[in-house]
Symmetry: C2
DNA sequence: TAGATTGTTAATCGATTAACAATC
DNA sequence: TAGATTGTTAATCGATTAACAATC
């Protein structure tokens, strides 16, 4: 669904007044029927014979994606990764301003990271309450991840982006996305191993079940 | 598929000689039939009445995941993110040693990043050939991503991990995984927006098509 | 009215899983 | 032999897509 957004931004920039499901489908590499069904699921309707109003579509999808509001972000873990994420300009640009970066290590507290300075994780509750934070990013060592997640949950965070390899166990109300570098690389090497093996004529199957 | 691995490592550590598809399924949160089908797809067979040999399974899955060899990594882009990735210990640990970090900016070339120092992107071909690099990581600004990807493809890289928001167009032989922070956050906010809307009783549908 | 395109039903496809004969 | 568990077929489920009547 987020895929539609950039295509629509382009269309709006080119001042297309309307777009057909067929056109949109080609832009995002999907099937026209799927596009219509997706939009219908968001209660967005078009005009028969004409298509969808681009500006209206853009607005409605932004709302559906929650982009009509800012989502304050707190980053827990001020190591290399945490600091890199805090400096990532793309985030604020796309409606996810980083409001704080925390660590448990007193030696790091007070260090400056871009425009922020590292704060202590003990202040999480107050920070979340005061600064309109609604997303937590976990950039700690894997062993700390569950503890941090519990802490985030306890202060009311309902959206977590987890950069560790730990599979978190949380209330189902809490949405978690995991971004694990090594797993991504393993998936790449898995595909590559399979296709090379297939080319080399060994018995490894090309058609497997999933690839996940 | 990569999911099985850590469960198996644990089992091996506890010296379980055999594991049933049922047991393994519970560990990875899947269905026993799916586990059996997955393993069969990798030409791994078990013993009726007994289950699968844990050590054998671990070995075969490692091979299938390509983990029996190291996959040298080159990082293109020595900004905050590139440097953080280069310092990520987890990578070498899991069989993905970072062999080089490159940038196009002469001011960055020569700077040290952990044990490496930044090299110029013009040397990519030689570096890939000499150091057994098989995975490229793109950590440049989004506008440069396609150019870098073309370059990586041209020097024979077949596995790319793309940290920009650009959708890359490459030969289908080249496996690409995208890790886009803002998109991940958008997905979180999308879910959160939907569920809050549903709780608030507005018309936003809880049952949609995909959520991607 | 003729052409275009939606909204939606029904068909298709693929993936998941239940079930069970084979067999250790 | 009795119990357990695989390997695989057939049933189920869900998601995708073709097709077309409704209608702008």
């Amino acid at each position: 669904m987020p895929t539609y957004l950039s295509a629509l931004v382009d269309l709006a920039a080119e001042e297309y007044p309307h777009v057909s499901s067929d056109h949109l489908a080609r832009l995002v590499g999907a099937n026209p029927a799927t596009v219509r069904r997706d939009l219908a699921a968001l209660d967005i309707s078009g005009t028969r014979g004409l298509g969808y109003d681009v500006k209206y579509l853009l607005h409605e999808i932004s709302v559906a994606l929650g982009l009509s509001q800012d989502w304050g972000v707190v980053i827990v873990g001020a190591g290399n990764l945490g600091r890199a994420l805090a400096n990532h300009e793309g985030l604020t640009q796309r409606g996810f301003p980083v409001r704080a970066i925390l660590d448990i290590d007193p030696a790091l507290v007070g260090q400056s990271v871009g425009e922020l300075s590292v704060e202590h994780v003990d202040d999480l509750g107050a920070i979340v309450a005061d600064r309109g934070v609604s997303v937590g990013v976990i950039a700690t060592p894997a062993q700390e991840a569950q503890r941090v997640a519990d802490l985030l949950e306890s202060v009311g965070i309902r959206s977590i982006l987890n950069f560790t390899s730990t599979a978190l166990v949380l209330d189902e109300q809490v949405q978690v996305r995991r971004v694990d570098l090594a797993t991504e690389l393993q998936i790449l090497s898995f595909y590559q191993t399979r296709t090379s093996a297939a080319r080399a004529g060994t018995g490894l199957p090309l058609e497997g079940s999933d690839g996940s």
